[in-house]
């Protein structure tokens, strides 16, 4: 018996287990996805999930009381107020700019269109620190407008206006970026129809354009807001980081960490993380809404 079987097994004897090799495509099909999924999730766990969970674990490690107490300190309250004001000013300003830019660019093809699109995207490519530096060189004491500003006793650098400028610079592209594709897809036939029916420019905007782009616009505004509230580098350069004066939440987090006030740092970090979580959930919902519209 073994002698008869030998010739058949001969060629693949080095492999020791020929039947397994024959079945390998099917078997591989079974374990390859599992291995890949495990690798992917492990990587995400180390890079994203554990750091994210750690924020909450550290903030609540001494109980909810300790967490809540941090949220009533004057420095924290001032930082939170400053962050809110920054967002309240920069988000609407950037929204108006984004809408105008999207309207101007999506309307028609013209030479230099790609260039203008790249220019609008530029703040994403410029390091936040370099953006802050630019604003200092423009409005700072030795900057272009420095002498004039000093003569008129206007403070921009190391003060709130400079922080507004830096934040607005950093989150400039979001709205235009989200609205342009939506506008392009919607086309302008409906607006032209409204115009021939005698609608005014404002009526066309409120009744026709805005309903078409509302989800894209909202998404752009949410991203702008997340970035405006979270911006660190550019604001750190122009603000001077004076506790209780020019220190918004992200700078408060760093300062508290550097002063070994871990509980204060993590309590503020929890709020900023919740902002990120809300942003992600809103993104998920808005993407679903636009997808449903596409299908229709």
């Amino acid at each position: 018996m073994p002698k008869e079987a030998m010739p058949n097994l001969g060629p693949s004897l080095q492999h020791d287990t020929p039947p397994a090799e024959n079945a390998s495509p099917k078997k591989q099909g079974n374990w390859v996805p599992v291995v890949l999924i495990v690798i992917a999730i492990t990587y995400l766990t180390f890079i994203l999930l554990i750091p994210a969970i750690n924020v909450f674990a550290e903030a609540f490690s001494k109980g909810i009381g300790a967490f809540l107490r941090q949220l009533t300190t004057p420095n924290f309250l001032h930082a939170a107020k400053l962050t809110l004001f920054l967002a309240l000013i920069t988000v609407p300003v950037n929204m108006v700019f984004g809408l105008c830019a999207a309207w101007a660019i999506a309307r028609r093809k013209f030479p230099g269109r790609a260039l203008i699109l790249s220019i609008i995207d530029l703040p994403f490519s410029i390091s936040p620190v370099v953006a802050g530096l630019m604003i200092v060189l423009l409005y700072g004491r030795n900057g272009w407008f420095g002498p004039w500003l000093q003569a008129n006793d206007i403070k921009i650098i190391f003060a709130f206006p400079g922080m507004v400028l830096a934040t607005a610079f950093i989150c400039m592209p979001f709205v235009a970026r989200e609205v342009i594709p939506v506008l392009e897809e919607a086309g302008f036939e409906q607006e032209e129809a409204a115009r021939t029916l005698g609608a005014q420019d404002w009526q066309i905007f409120w009744r026709v354009t805005l309903p078409n782009i509302r989800w894209g616009l909202l998404y752009g505004v949410i991203l702008t807001n997340a970035r405006a509230m979270g911006e660190f580098g550019a604001v750190a350069v122009v603000s001077g980081n004076i506790t209780g004066k020019t220190q918004p939440l992200p700078l408060f987090v760093e300062e508290a960490y550097k002063q070994y006030e871990t509980q204060a740092a993590y309590s503020a970090a929890v709020l900023l993380t919740l902002l990120a979580v809300v942003t992600l959930i809103a993104k998920e919902i808005l993407e679903r809404k636009t997808r449903i519209k596409d299908v229709e």
């Binding site: 990587y43 423009l138 991203l223 740092a265 902002l275």
Partner: protein, 284 residues
């Protein structure tokens, strides 16, 4: 000749003004905002840099500390980009092709680095990867320190650049037809051959674009790295932090020169990204 030359500048000067008045309001607001917010600040920095003169500019831009920061910034960002090129593609593949529990949640979590303020990222990465942190304590017995070293810079760069690769590769992958792979497989290609010869070539432009986008972001990153690193020159000091330190010492020319170098490199990466995207469109 002498008479005609003065009239030309006037005509040329009048034309833009007349063109500007013909522009609609959205155009005026767009160009005005871009001028005040983007062009003026950029011009201020470039002019300030140009007052240095080429020799001085070169001396500051290639000073020993500056060179060390370029090494840390660009080499580490490149390594982080390459790492994410592999793992980001793998994650995109897993998310597009396979079904598993919590897939939707994991897909949504990928965008966390876009939404999470960088200061929070730095704070939590610094403590998770420190010697007594959740992950750092696993490596500490091996003598590997992550937080406050160059490895920490690498981890922070991994964190912030991951979504760029995944989100660029994902749409291309989901548009790819499974039939082509099945055809390759039917024709006798092994899994590796199918991957290298059929799947990877059309994905490559998207992967490289994602890596370049992530690299650009990592090179400019400040918030998370300033917290996760010890910011010591020649060890783990990155170029954006150096710009910040120079500004704190009121060394405006030093900050401007290094800032200009960073701006130039950002623009160069932007150009490369555009070329990569043009290449990718050939496959579409």
């Amino acid at each position: 000749m002498a008479i005609s030359t003065p009239s030309q500048p006037i005509a040329a000067g009048k034309n833009p003004i007349r063109q500007l008045s013909k522009l609609s309001w959205p155009w005026r607001i767009t160009l005005g905002y871009l001028t005040v917010m983007l062009f003026l600040p950029t011009a201020a920095m470039l002019l300030k840099a140009s007052t240095q003169g080429p020799a001085n500019f070169w001396r500051i831009a290639t000073g020993p500390v500056a060179l060390a920061t370029y090494d840390v910034t660009f080499i580490t960002a490149l390594l982080a980009g390459a790492t994410n090129g592999v793992f980001g593609t793998l994650i995109a593949w897993v998310l597009v092709r396979y079904n598993f529990p919590f897939k939707k949640a994991i897909d949504a979590v990928i965008d966390l680095p876009f939404a999470l303020p960088t200061a929070v990222a730095g704070l939590t990465l610094a403590s998770v990867y420190s010697d007594n942190g959740w992950i750092g304590s696993l490596f500490a017995p091996l003598g590997i320190k992550i937080s406050f070293t160059r490895l920490g810079v690498w981890v922070a760069m991994l964190f912030i650049s991951l979504p760029f690769v995944v989100r660029t590769v994902q749409p291309v992958l989901s548009e790819m037809e499974v039939e082509i792979e099945e055809a390759a497989w039917c024709l006798g290609a092994s899994q590796w051959q199918t991957f290298w010869r059929v799947i990877l070539p059309p994905l490559l432009p998207a992967i490289l674009t994602g890596v370049a986008l992530g690299f650009a972001r990592a090179v400019g990153e400040y918030g998370s790295i300033v917290i996760v690193a010890s910011n010591i020159p020649f060890k783990d000091l990155i170029a954006p932090v150096l710009v910040f330190q120079r500004l704190e010492q009121f060394d405006y020319s030093g900050a401007t020169v290094i800032g200009t170098v960073l701006l130039g490199i950002s623009l160069l990466i932007l150009l490369i990204i555009n070329l990569l995207q043009a290449w990718g469109r050939r496959y579409a």
